[in-house]
Each structure stands twice: as C-alpha cells, then as structure tokens.
C-alpha cells in the first residue's frame, strides 16, 4: 500500500512539474499508466467512480463504501453529503475538505499539499443520493464499537428500510452479541424483507410476524404499505391480519394512554378541589380566592428554589411543600378572620368578597414578582419520562398522582382520627347542634379554612411542576374545581375524589372524540343534568339539617 502511495505522490510531483495547463494531459497519461501498473485495490476503484461525477457512478461508489467500510468511509460520505467532496479529474485525485476547511486526500486522509484548490470541483449530489448516503452512513454505524450507536443505527435502518443496508445488517447480525442490538437488527432486517418484493415469501411472512410483534405506529405504516402493494396473496393476507392486530393493539394502548392522562388530570383536580370541598362543606361558602391559594403555593415553590443553595436544590420540594401549606394556610386564616366570618349569613356575598380578595392577591403577586411566568424547575427525580409498552409516562405527573394520594389519605386521617376532624365533621353535619354540644364553631371555621387553603397551597407546589407559574395560575383550575365539588357533594372526601376522577377522565377521554372544548361543554351539561337527580352532589350528607 505505502509503496503505491509513494509512487502516486511521485506521479503528482511529476505532474506538477509540468505546471502548464497544456501539459496536464501528459500528466494524466502518466498517472493512468502508473495506475495500471499499481495493484488496483478496491478502494481505488470505488474512489475512481466519484471522478466521473455522474449520479449512477456516485451511487455505486456510495454503496461500495458502505459495504467495504474502509476507515475513512464515514468521513468521505459525510463530506459528500455536505458538498465537501472534491475531485480533480485532471490529477485523478479525490479529496475532501474538513469542516475546518483543511483539504485531505480521500484515500490516505493526509493533507493535500501544493495543489491549486481551484483545480478541484465539487461532486454533485441529488436527493436520491442524499438518501443513499444516509442509508450508507446507517450501515456504517451498524459496525460501530459502541452498542448504543449500533442500536441507533439499527433503528435508522428500520425507519428507512433501505435494502442497500441489508448486507451490512446481516454481517453485523452474524457477530452481534448484545441482545438488544440483536433484536433491533432483526427488526431492521424484517423491515427490509417485508418491504422488498424480491425477498422470498417465507422471509416476508416471518418478517411480517416480527413487525407485528413490535406493533407500534412505525410497524403499522410499514405493514400498511405491504398490504396495499404486495402481489403475493399469502403475503397480502398475512399483512392484512397483522395490520388489524396492530390496529387493535394501538387502539388499546391509545385508550390506556388517555386513561393515564385522565388519571393525571384527575389527581391535579383532586389536589385543587379537595381544599375547596372542605371549606365549602364546613362553612357552606365557596371561596373564590381558592385558586389564588394554589397560586401562592406555586410561588412559594419558586421562592424556595430561588433562595435555596445549589447543594439543596434536589430537596427543594421537601421545603416547598410545608412552606406552601403554611403560607396559603395563613393567608386563608387571615381571609376567614377578616372577611368571611362576617358574611356567614350571606353566603352569596361571600362569593363577591372572596372574588375581591382573589383580585387583590393576584395584583399583589404581580406587583411583587412581575406579570411574567416564573420558571420552576423539576428536581432530577421528577424529570424525564419512561415507557411501559405503548404507554409514555412522565415522571412529574406520576409523582403528582402519588402526592395527591398521600394528601387524600392524610386528610382522611385528619378527619377520621383526630378530635379536630371529629369536630369539623360535626359542624359540617349540623352547625347548631355542634355548637350546642360545646364545639367552638368559630374556631373550627378558622382552622378548617386554614386547612383547606393549606392543601390548596400544596396543590400549587404540584402545579408548579407541570404548569407555568404566573399570577393567573389559579384561575385556570378554579372552575373545574367548583365542578368537582358540585358533582361530588360536600362532607365526604370520597365524593370529591370520585368527582375529580370522573371529571378528569371524562375530559381526557372525550377530548380525542369531540375536541377539548366540546368535551368540557358536554361535561358541563352532564353535571347540570346530574344535579337534577342529586342536587347536593353524588355523596350528599343525609339528614334533616342538609335538606333545604
């Protein structure tokens, strides 16, 4: 090899000696003469095809580079794709320019010296060639030492199902040891067999079976193409059967995905609504500033993240949750003591007064933090996503479901197992009777309002992880929360949980069918009709006191 290289270089020097253009031809003659005497290795032949600068030849060269995989093949193909591959037909030289602009000999990878850059011209490529280059690059990386790269390359081949990658694919399949890569390679091979008319029917049938097992969107579109184009009846019917199997499978996963979204939406709704249910249940007043308690919780998270040193950032939520509970709870108690306390006999006016409070709180936050969205980041354990079958699950939403379950259980414990909870339930059922039994209803009102608002603050921490933290944050959830309470009824947290689950699920399951807005309208009409049957909600308290 080296000797022929030296000879070639010598020939160049020789050619350069005749610098005059008129004498170029003589140089070529000399080189040609030399080439015939030198051992013509495969790479030379391949590179020579570029010199013609004709599309069929170039394509052939690409295929050969992919098959032979000489060390510099990837660099050459990349250069070709970027229009950086240069030829000097006169000097019978193929070279490429690196991204940095250095001119390298395509064969040796050494810098080309002394040659006039103007003598080179670019090798032309068209779109067909570009896709050929992509396929060739894919098969080159099939042999990459890094298994992750090989995996990605196999996926690439699966997507392009380019028959030209088949030899490289099969070569790699023979020596592959990583089971994941083997599976990916088999799939890629199946995709080629399945789509190629020249493959044997047996190969195609087993390929279709492999694709059916994969059963995702990509496999579906591949098999769809076969079912339409295949001429062999056996292949065609197998494809049709596989297609319907995949359809069913995808539809099932789609439903599962929507269920997941629905459960996720429900958990958010539950967090936002459960505090409202408590305050409405105990006091019979709806706190229109409830959404702002959620907003305060989200801003507490923001403040915690801004103030904590970087070493503690991973634990920011551990600080944010109690802080949000305390901040929102304290504001809630202040509202109860300063405003709502005076309006118990006028529940309708409580709506207006608390609406006023919500305007003030929104404007206060806007004055303090600005009207723009604040960035709250996910701690590492809450970012990212993972897949279960055809389900894609984002980690932050999973944790929010966990959080809402914990909050729900915690509140049930407070209500069922503490003296405060007992008194609160007593006031909810019959305020006068409870007062007669020595319960300080004013104190219970205050604490219940604080508790409900504090839980709203925790909801804000959760929302800060999935939504923009802005002064209007609470507004987006408040009406749905009202619906949950109206639907679920008061005095029983199970009603709230059930209401949240139903509204969250119905929203997300109706969304793909009739659109998000129509879904909400249908739901609203349903709730209006529903409260015809049960004017006090699904889980209404029974007894004389609550029947008007």
């Amino acid at each position: 090899m080296t000797s022929s290289n030296d000879c070639r270089l010598a020939a160049h020097d020789f050619a350069r000696g005749f610098a005059l253009r008129a004498l170029r031809a003589l140089g070529v003659l000399a080189l040609l003469a030399f080439a015939t005497t030198a051992r013509a290795d495969a790479v030379d032949d391949t590179l020579a095809k570029f010199l013609d600068d004709k599309f069929p030849q170039t394509e052939a060269a690409i295929g050969e580079l992919a098959a032979e995989a000489p060390p510099q093949a990837a660099a050459i193909l990349e250069a070709l794709g970027d229009n950086r591959l240069l030829i000097d037909p006169a000097d019978h030289l193929v070279a490429y320019k690196t991204v940095a602009g250095v001119l390298l000999n395509a064969k040796t990878g050494e810098p080309v010296q002394g040659l006039d850059a103007a003598a080179f011209k670019k090798v032309r490529v068209n779109n067909a060639l570009r896709s050929a280059i992509e396929g060739a690059m894919g098969s080159l990386t099939l042999a990459n030492p890094d298994p992750e790269k090989r995996l990605a390359a196999a996926e690439d081949v699966f997507r392009t199902h380019d028959a030209k990658a088949l030899p490289a694919l099969q070569a790699q399949l023979g020596k592959e040891s990583d089971p994941r890569v083997v599976a990916a390679l088999k799939l890629a091979q199946a995709s080629i067999f399945a789509t190629s008319d020249s493959a044997s029917p047996q190969d195609r049938l087993s390929a279709i079976a492999t694709l059916k097992e994969r059963g995702d969107q990509d496999a579906q579109s591949l098999i769809d193409g076969i079912a339409q184009k295949a001429t062999d009846p056996a292949v065609k019917s197998a494809a049709a059967a596989a297609l319907s199997a995949i359809h069913t499978r995808l539809a099932l996963w789609g439903v599962a995905q929507n269920l997941w979204y629905g459960i996720s939406a429900s958990s958010v709704l539950l967090l936002a609504a459960i505090g409202l249910a408590i305050t409405f249940g105990v006091m019979g007043v709806i706190n229109m500033a409830h959404g702002e308690m959620v907003m305060l919780g989200a801003y507490s998270t923001y403040v915690v993240q801004t103030l904590l040193p970087p070493s503690l950032q991973n634990w920011s939520l551990a600080f944010a949750i109690p802080l949000a509970f305390v901040v929102a709870g304290a504001v809630g108690i202040a509202i109860e003591r300063l405003v709502i306390r005076f309006l118990y006999t006028r529940p309708l006016e409580t709506l207006l007064a608390t609406w006023g409070v919500s305007l003030i709180l929104q404007q206060l936050v806007r004055s303090l933090f600005g009207a723009n969205n604040r960035l709250v980041s996910n701690p590492p354990f809450m970012s990212g996503a993972f897949e279960i079958g055809g389900l894609s699950i984002t980690t932050n939403r999973l944790w929010i479901i966990v959080l809402s379950a914990v909050v729900f259980i915690g509140l049930q414990l407070v209500l069922r197992a503490t003296p405060f909870g007992l008194q609160m339930r007593a006031v909810t059922q019959n305020r006068r009777m409870a007062a007669s039994m020595g319960i300080s209803t004013a104190r219970i009102d205050m604490l219940a309002f604080g508790l409900g608002s504090g839980v709203a603050g925790i909801a804000g921490v959760a929302l800060s992880q999935i939504d923009n933290v802005s002064p209007n944050l609470g507004q987006g959830y408040i009406i749905d929360s009202f619906m949950v309470v109206v639907f679920g009824g008061v005095g029983n947290l199970w009603g709230t949980a059930f209401g949240a689950l139903l509204i969250g699920l119905a929203n997300k399951l109706l969304e793909p069918l009739i659109g998000a807005v129509q879904g909400q309208i249908v739901l609203l009409i349903f709730i209006i009709l529903f409260i015809q049957r049960r004017p006090r909600g699904l889980f209404a308290l029974r007894g004389r006191a609550v029947e008007a």
Binding site: G284, T345, R346, P347, L351, Q363, T441, L524, A545
Partner: protein, 374 residues
C-alpha cells in the same frame, strides 16, 4: 318597595329622559368651542355606561328580588351583542378587506365558501333584533328550566351559571365555531344605513340606550310591583315555605330569569355598536362577577341602585385605569371586599338610611335550616 324608592325611581327616569334629549343637543347642536360641548367619544362612553346599567338592572331583578346570584349574566349580554354584531357584520358587504358581498372577512380568511346557517337572515334588521331577544331568552329558559326544577339554589346555582359562561367563553374562542374566533366581530361600518362613525349616530345610540334603560326599569318595576313580584320576593326569603304553601317556585324563578336574560341581551345589542367590537372576552367569568359588584355597590333590590352602581363603578374604572393602572385591581378588589362587608345595602341603602322604619332582618329560612348561624 318603599314609597321613597319609587320617588327616587321617578327622579331617575326624569334624569334619563333629560339626558336622552340633552346629550344629543350638546353633542350635535352646541358648537365645539363651547364649554358645554360633548365630544362624540364622551357620548359613546356615557352610552356604554348606560348599557352596563341596563345589565345591572337585569341582574338586580334576579338577584335582588329573587335571590338568584347569577355569575353568568355576562353571557346573555354577550349573546345579545353577538346577534347585533352579526347584523353589523353583514352590513359591511363589499366594503370589507376581501370585498365579499356575502361572507364576512374572517370567513373568507378561513377559506369558507358558504355562509353558515347560523348567519342566515342576519342582514335583515328585524330578524337580528328578534335574535337579540330570542337567543339569550332561550338559553336562560333551557338553563333555568333544568337548574330550578332540580332545586339548584344559592351558591351551587352561582357556580353553575359561572360554568355556563365559561363554557361559552371557550366555545366562542374557537375559529370553527363560526363567530370570528378570538378576534370576534369588528370593523363595523353602519347601522340601518347610518355610519357608526358619525357623531349623530353616536348620539342616537346614546338616547336609545337611555330609553332602553328606562324601559328595563319600567318592566322590572312593573314585575316587582305586581302580585307575581310579591311572590317572587317571598321565594327569595323563604323558598321552602313558598313551595309548601303550594306555589310552583321554579316557574316564578324561571320567568324572572328569562326576562332578566332578555334585558341583558338587549343591553349587549346596544353596547356593541357603541364600542365597535364584540369578542369572546365578553363571556369571561370575571365580567359577570364585576356586574354583580355594580349591583352590590349601588344597592341590590332597588333597581335604580343597581344602575347607579354600574355607572359609578365604571366611571371609577375609566378614571383609575387611566390614572393609576397599577392600582385599579387593588381598588376593584377592595370594592368587592369592603362593599360587601360594610355596605350590605349599597350606596342607595346608605342614602335611604333612617328615612324609613328599620325593616325586620329577614334571615333566609333555608339558611337557618342549613344550619347557618343567624
């Protein structure tokens, strides 16, 4: 309804009649150099206040006399406005950007070929006016029929009405819904052949608004003064008791609700040509709640108090949003809080205080039965 309040009502009507005559004169006849000259933009602003006042009277009819705090009256207002807007849209004709004689610009922009059925007939003024009344009225009828029959009352009802306007708010935002999407309807040219830009049209719209306010007051006053009105107030104060006596409570409520929605729709129809635009933000729940605070500030259960409250609050809003935009929301919020806390009878209640024997405090029977402390 005290005699004193009726006297005030007569004065209120008299002022409106004077305004309906005087404002056009000051705007059109008086020379622009005079100190008494009313520029058209001011006439337009006053006309807008009057439309809000009509809405407030409508809301007071159901809230003050029937105990239904509707947080969705903005929806009826906006529907009336949209019906008028559709008429004005069709009047633009070939003067639009795309010069399509039939389709409004936004439909041409969306590449629609045919006028949707909902838009048919809106080029004919009487039909459009019928829709101004029918659409809010029918919505109120359907909504109220379900809600009152199922005995949804109090806070529940307020929340459901808020959800209603919220649903419409979202629906009207959609381009596909066919009412201009989030841009709404705008760029109007003329009404019944009169240019909306002309000072005379603006003055005429002001007078029309003043007359509509008088009529809204008169109709509401007639309802309240009748035997039916007495029953309505009894429903407000003791719904269960009325039901047990044998009254069809839901029918009383439904009638008041539908009349109120129609008045609100008419207010919206007068509002749109004066402000020159109608878009989905009119459905925003916040608008409806603001209307409730006008009524509360002015004094609910007085009708004229509601109208005065609407004008006063909106005047303050115009002033403060211009002078101290940062602080207007604080002001409005405080108005909600302090108004409900310290002015349960509103400004008018404050003015009337001491002039009549203190009425016995009526605590809703329902509230007592639900366990609220008196």
């Amino acid at each position: 309804m005290s005699a004193r309040l009726d006297h005030l009502g007569l004065g209120f009507v008299a002022i409106l009649i004077v305004a309906a005559i005087l404002v056009p004169l000051l705007s059109l006849v008086v020379s622009p150099d005079s100190a008494f000259y009313l520029p058209p933009y001011l006439v337009q602003l006053l006309g807008k206040y009057l439309c809000y006042a009509i809405l407030a009277v409508a809301l007071d009819l159901v809230w003050g006399y029937c105990g239904i705090l509707s947080l969705g009256h903005g929806a009826f207002f906006a529907l009336g406005g949209y019906a008028m807007g559709m008429y004005l849209m069709r009047q633009i004709g070939t003067r639009g950007v795309y010069a399509n004689p039939i389709l409004p610009d936004f439909m041409v922009f969306l590449n629609w070929k045919e006028l949707p059925v909902a838009w048919w007939g809106f080029n004919w003024f009487p039909y459009a006016m019928l829709m101004v009344v029918l659409v809010p009225g029918l919505l109120a009828l359907a909504f109220g029929w379900f809600a009152f029959r199922s005995r949804v009352t109090g806070v529940y009802l307020s929340i459901i009405t808020q959800a209603m306007t919220f649903a419409l708010f979202k629906e009207f935002f959609r381009n596909d819904f066919g009412f201009g999407g989030n841009n709404g309807l705008t760029d109007f040219k003329d009404l019944l052949g009169f240019s909306l830009q002309a000072a005379s049209t603006k003055a005429a719209l002001f007078s029309a608004s003043a007359i509509a306010l008088i009529l809204a007051y008169a109709v509401s006053r007639a309802i309240i003064g009748s035997k039916y009105g007495k029953a309505l107030m009894a429903v407000r104060d003791a719904e269960s008791r009325m039901r047990f006596i044998g009254y069809r409570v839901e029918n009383y409520k439904l009638f008041a609700f539908v009349v109120s929605a129609i008045i609100a729709g008419i207010a919206g129809a007068l509002y749109v040509p004066q402000v020159g635009i109608i878009n989905p933000s009119e459905f925003a729940p916040a608008n409806s709640i603001e209307a409730a605070i006008w009524v509360a500030v002015g004094g609910r259960g007085t009708l004229i108090g509601a109208a005065i409250g609407a004008i006063a609050v909106n005047f303050a809003k115009t002033y403060f949003t211009g002078a101290f935009p940062e602080y207007w929301l604080y002001g409005l919020g405080l108005l909600f809080v302090l108004g409900t806390l310290f002015l349960p009878k509103g400004l008018l209640g404050l003015a009337l205080r001491g002039s009549e024997p203190k009425p016995r405090e009526v605590v809703s029977v329902d509230a007592v039965e639900e366990g609220a402390e008196p």
